[in-house]
Subunit: 152 residues, 2 copies
């Protein structure tokens, strides 16, 4: 359909991208993958909430300010995500006995249970999409992405 519309070939050839420009392109396009993955999350648990739980699972209880560093977003944003998961009983927020300004975040059993569910859903969604991938390929991608994050 619409075999030929204006019949004029592009007057300028596509600029051959440098590896850096190509990386910028790929990172832009990766948003679709993230959205697809987010669709597999349970209701009431948006990506930001899932990130809070995952960080606590990996790094143990911590203050809000440290959580904000791990999530690499502003502390005000972190506070909202944390409120979301605390309201649903997935974490508890205890006032630091040593410094009344600080809140200690800690997973609850309910939060751990949800975390198991999250892992299963992520794994299922990715296994379905990445059926042709070897474990080595996935590990290689993980390694490069981790390195990319630490470079920023």
């Amino acid at each position: 359909m619409t075999a030929r519309t204006t019949a004029t070939a592009p007057t300028t050839a596509p600029t051959p991208p440098t590896p850096h420009e190509e990386l910028a392109r790929q990172l832009t396009g990766i948003g679709a993958v993230k959205r697809e993955l987010a669709r597999s999350l349970p209701p009431d648990c948006p990506p930001g909430a899932a990130a809070v739980l995952t960080v606590l699972d990996r790094h143990g209880e911590m203050r809000l300010s440290r959580m904000a560093e791990f999530m690499a977003v502003d502390i005000s944003v972190t506070s909202r995500h944390v409120t979301h998961v605390a309201d649903r009983g997935w974490i508890e927020r205890e006032t630091d006995p040593g410094d009344g300004r600080c809140r200690i975040l800690r997973l609850t059993p309910s939060g751990r249970a949800l975390l198991t569910e999250l892992g299963a859903r992520h794994t299922a969604a990715l296994e379905r999409a990445l059926h042709g991938w070897s474990v080595q390929d996935i590990d290689a991608l993980n390694t490069l992405l981790a390195r990319l994050r630490s470079s920023f």
Copy 2:
């Protein structure tokens, strides 16, 4: 600071992540890199607008519906981004002579000039962050990301 807060070690050890779960984690964390890259864009040119220009540069003039496929977002979202760049004269929207419902999108000279600027800014931002990376590493990451996108 805050040497020890509750003095209780986490009762449950961190769940060792599978490669799939780790990939989900990495993809979540990559948002920070994207935001950092977006900060290098010129004013009036948000990431969505830049994506429209880049797709046109790489694949030539096309209809809106095809642009939506390349961007992997809903056509209504694409329409808004396209309106943004058209309002600023970076592309032109011509009604398809063969089908009055279709709009043909085409870069203008002004759009090509901006595209050159975008490439320079992306390259500068990434070169600064990725100074320790070899071209082979970047190419490997690009290849894996492209493969990931096509797997979805």
